[in-house]
Amino acid sequence: MNHLEVRGVGKTFGKEAVLKGIHFELPFGKSLAILGPSGVGKSTLLKILCGMEEADTGRILLNGNPVENWPIAKRKMIYLHQHPVLLPHLNVAQNILFSLKATEWPEAKKQDQLHYWLEQTGLKGHESKLPNQLSGGQKQRVALARAMIFEPEIILMDEPFHALDHYLKEQLMEELKALFLREKMSSIIVTHDPQEALKWADHFAWLSEEGLVQYKDQEAFIADPKTGVHRQINFWNQYQKS
């Protein structure tokens, strides 16, 4: 059984059909990268999955159960924005614990989990800092720690590394990839960058106005000319030769 199955999801804004008959599957503990040109509804698809937007058609199955009528929180699919969304008046620890406001966990468990996730995301020692005292990478870690402490089923990431510089992006990606593998966390990442997708994901999909194509493996993804990966690899090969 797959962790997530999306069957024929469609969404229309006014007269414009943004998503048409989207199908894909995500196995347990794996990550899926969704690529595609701007404006084809990649972010909308993630918002539909987590329940922030409603699909007009189709089914979403989480662990085999249809979740279309579930409240947002019950789906436990956490959406991470492109720019980390932190509450400016709360410090790092309070921001992380914010996701547990609606839960009835005992305080001791909350504190245990807080210390665990501070450790895991490399934020130990920054607990009392306010968001405006953090770097872009640290802010993204806080957003991730806040999502992870909530014990989500799936993390949905909308270009999470887009606003970071190259070196920070590489470092953060490596750390988070290791963390996701350790925690066996299923994730979906939306990105414009095929290299980022190749580094992060195990499964690949291409979303365009015609719909979504899920590749059977990495080779198929690389070989498809519309993804642009093959072109990039050729360019680097020629560059190295010259």
């Binding site: 947002i72 924005h81 969304v85 509450l87 008046h89 914010f98 406001k101 609606a102 839960t103 909530f150």
Partner: protein, 256 residues
Amino acid sequence: MRRYLTTVSLSLMLLTLFLGLCVSALGLGLSYPSLWPREWDFSFLSEIGSRGQLFSSFASSLWIACAVAIASTTSAFAVRLISFYSQPEQRLQLFIFYLPYLIAPVVLAVALQILFLRLGWAGTYTAIIMGQICITLPYAIILQDGIWGQSLRSIVQMGLNFGLSSFQILRCIIWPAARGLLILSTIQTFLISWFDFALVQFLGMGRVRTLTLSLYTAVLESDLQQASFAAIAIILPGFLLMLLFYRIFIQKATSI
């Protein structure tokens, strides 16, 4: 250094203004070209309550300004909150908010007076408060625009994602984000009402007396002492509020 000099020169300017008003309020025989009074008269302070109804004017101004400030700010917050969730057409929203400023104040006052005469409110506090709210409510709505941006929408979405209830979202997300601008909005609408002269004169029909009317009357009667006291009473709250909420003023003024 430049910041220090600016602060000192601004403080000196304000202090000179207050000193000038105090001198003309308490000095006798102060007439052009002399800059200093011949003698001081503090008896006016003890008679202030009986002369010129300054106290009652002060109380009327305070009551009207507080009512207008609270009603405008809370209503503007409610309007903004509803439009945040219902997301009506942006251009229509803006047109409605700016509409009162497309109409000349005198036309607005005449139109309102006709309405209030029909309703039997003319010459009452209600008429003045309602008239001023017509100006301050759209102002407060526009001023509170800074709260309801994309950033707040993303935070609210994040709260919903973690299963927060509507009340928790209001208390933990919207209120902390809005607090500063709500205080600023209350102060600004209070001051608009506090300084208003035209609507009070027109809609009050001489039956409601505020500080601005007292000042105007005192100037017409060439009563320098009374005019100076009224002027001090009019400008004092603005400065006090500015001092009390200095940080909010500076932070929000630079962010708007």
